[in-house]
């Protein structure tokens, strides 16, 4: 068997929609999905669920968690619990916006670079090189500071620093797909370049890009809260997790000010990472736990028979 593609890439393609149901069945993905769902519900009902106005400075200051206020109050008498719930409405949609924009932008640029090739490819790839030469937080920080501190500018900075990774991945996928036999077969049958891209290439890019994006949601939340922590994102008095932690720095003995927003970020990011990792696992036959049946040890023959009961005799 001298197949030109490795079994890995061969199996990975086209498995996306069968992979999603498989991924859901693993406990890790279930836990992730439940936590993520819980936070999404919180974000939706926060205005009604919050016991106090998250911005109102009307409670006694710096009271520890207790009967009066579930998670205590901050230095100006705001309710930490209400601010925590409201914070979910701020970070998650913006992180999603950031990831979706970066994915679309990166996919667009990556597929143009890979498909057109030549100097267009060269130029675009040097551009990604430039951006990727900077550590993401440092570049995002410079951009956010230049544009002026605001949450929206932090999102813009986040998009600028994160699209190149999608462009790189999509480009290399497109490049390898372009030489795949089925794409060439399409061209020999008279496909236009556009049709080739739309029907042969992009559908097969979708899976890996989706995995990348799902894993990137957590990173996006970390970046946005990090920039807010530095004072380059959400501005006071907004109820945002990163800036809540920043505010807690000057009242270090009031532990509840810092601990809870941090746990909020941790659980949300973890939930999306669990989901993303399970999805990657399901799409990648090698790193998966090899759920039953075909074992990784015998690539030569048996797995084909076990995995794929339709044999030659079946016709």
């Amino acid at each position: 068997m001298s197949a030109s593609t490795s079994p890995r890439t061969r199996l990975r393609r086209g498995r996306l929609f069968r992979a999603i149901p498989t991924a859901w069945r693993t406990p890790l993905a279930m836990v992730g999905a439940i936590i993520a769902l819980a936070w999404i519900v919180i974000a939706l009902i926060a205005p009604w669920a919050a016991p106090h106005d998250p911005l109102a400075q009307q409670l006694p200051r710096l009271t520890a968690p207790g009967d009066a206020s579930v998670l205590g109050t901050d230095q100006v008498g705001r309710d930490v619990f209400s601010r925590l719930l409201t914070g979910a409405r701020v970070t998650m949609p913006l992180a999603l916006l950031m990831v979706v924009s970066a994915t679309v932008l990166g996919t667009l640029i990556g597929s143009i670079a890979g498909f057109v090739g030549g100097w267009v490819d060269e130029t675009l790839m040097r551009l990604t090189d430039l951006i990727m030469a900077f550590p993401t937080v440092i570049l995002a920080m410079i951009i956010a500071a230049s544009l002026g501190p605001s949450l929206l500018n932090a999102v813009i900075a986040g998009i600028v620093v994160s699209w190149p990774q999608y462009a790189r991945v999509v480009r290399s996928l497109v490049l390898s797909l372009r030489t795949q036999n089925f794409v060439i077969a399409g061209r020999l049958l008279g496909y236009s370049p556009w049709r080739s891209l739309r029907s042969d290439i992009l559908p097969n890019v979708a899976g890996p890009v989706l995995v990348l994006a799902s894993l990137d949601i957590g990173t996006a939340i970390l970046l946005l809260t990090g920039l807010s922590f530095l004072g380059l994102g959400a501005q006071p008095p907004a109820a945002e997790w990163g800036s809540m932690i920043s505010g807690a720095m000057s009242h270090i003995d009031a532990w509840w000010l810092g601990v809870f927003p941090g746990l909020a970020i941790l659980t949300v990011v973890m939930a999306f990472n669990f989901i993303g990792d399970s999805l990657r696992d399901a799409l990648d036959p090698l790193s998966s736990a090899e759920r039953e049946g075909a074992a990784g040890g015998t690539e030569h023959e048996e797995p084909a028979a076990v995995e794929n009961p339709t044999t030659e005799e079946g016709r």
């Binding site: 068997m1 001298s2 197949a3 030109s4 593609t5 061969r10 393609r13 086209g14 498995r15 498909f115 057109v116 090739g117 795949q180 036999n181 089925f182 794409v183 060439i184 077969a185 399409g186 061209r187 020999l188 049958l189 008279g190 496909y191 236009s192 370049p193 029907s199 042969d200 559908p203 097969n204 084909a304 794929n308 339709t310 044999t311 030659e312 079946g314 016709r315």
Partner: protein, 280 residues
């Protein structure tokens, strides 16, 4: 018989830190209703020749004509309708089909290509039947088939375009031994029924023997011997052809070890024997 393909003095080079000339002055012609087999061992340039003929590889020099008109390399642009009369079947059945598209739709693309040249073609269901699969499988996706079945589908898609020339690059080497000669015979039958010609690339001389009208043996980028299959098989002239034929083990139960060449690449294999070319 009309000539469908004429390649003259074809050369293909690969640039790296060392430029490698994979095909070094190959000329061949294929007529309608004829199967030409190009045989040789790995790295001899037979696949590069096939890829250059169809336009996947830009030749370094030489001339390729399909029905008298030059074949431009497959670029970014859409291929002209006339050139969809050249089709190809690839070696690896797993990458030959789009995993995200129903096989019926992929065969239908072949039918569309035939229509674009004003020809009629059967429906995808009938094509599946023609290659020995259940017509009801048109709605399935490639992953629901075995490697051998996928190769049959790829053949159906190429033939649905009603080609005048089918280029087949090791189309059977990834299949189970027991179905190799059956698929090869089926390809010959269907191509000849359609009045087309076929360039059949293979490293397996025993399969070539039963299905090729003519055979060309390649060694290190050059054709060293060519002629009617039966003649080359029965009476090889070039030392390399002799070695190649002598090395084939036969399943006859006699326990005879095939002849092994004395060295890895004896000098005599490089000889040019004009008498060995275009025999018959």
């Amino acid at each position: 018989m009309s000539t469908v393909l004429e390649a003259t003095d074809l050369a293909v080079e690969y640039r790296g830190h060392r430029t490698v000339r994979a095909v070094d002055g190959v000329s061949l012609t294929i007529s309608a209703g004829e199967v030409l087999a190009l045989v040789g061992e790995s790295g001899c340039g037979k696949s590069s020749t096939a890829r250059a003929v169809i336009g996947m590889e830009k030749p370094h020099s030489g001339d390729i004509r399909f029905r008298g008109a030059p074949v431009p390399p497959l670029g970014l642009r859409r291929r002209k309708a006339e050139l969809t009369a050249m089709q190809m079947v690839f070696q690896d059945p797993n990458s030959s089909l789009n995993p995200r598209k129903r096989v019926g739709d992929q065969i239908a693309d072949g039918v569309t290509a035939a229509r674009s040249r004003g020809l009629s073609s059967d429906a995808p269901r009938q094509w599946l039947g023609a290659v020995g699969l259940d017509p009801d499988m048109v709605t399935r996706y490639p992953h629901q088939f075995s490697g051998g079945q996928r190769q049959r589908i790829a053949i159906a898609r190429a033939l649905a375009a009603q080609p005048d020339l089918l280029v087949a690059d090791e189309p059977i080497s990834a299949l189970d031994a027991s179905s190799q000669s059956e698929v090869a015979s089926m390809m010959r039958r269907l191509v000849l029924q359609a009045g087309a010609g076929m360039l059949f690339i293979s490293h397996d001389l025993s399969v070539v023997r039963i299905m090729a009208d003519r055979v060309a043996v390649m060694y290190r980028g050059r054709i060293v011997e060519s002629g009617p299959t039966a003649m080359v098989w029965a009476d090889p002239v070039h030392p390399y052809t002799k070695a190649l034929l002598g090395a084939i083990p036969h399943p006859d139960g006699k326990g005879v070890l095939p002849a092994a060449p004395a060295a890895e690449a004896p000098a005599e294999w490089h000889e040019e024997l004009p008498g060995a070319l275009d025999r018959g």
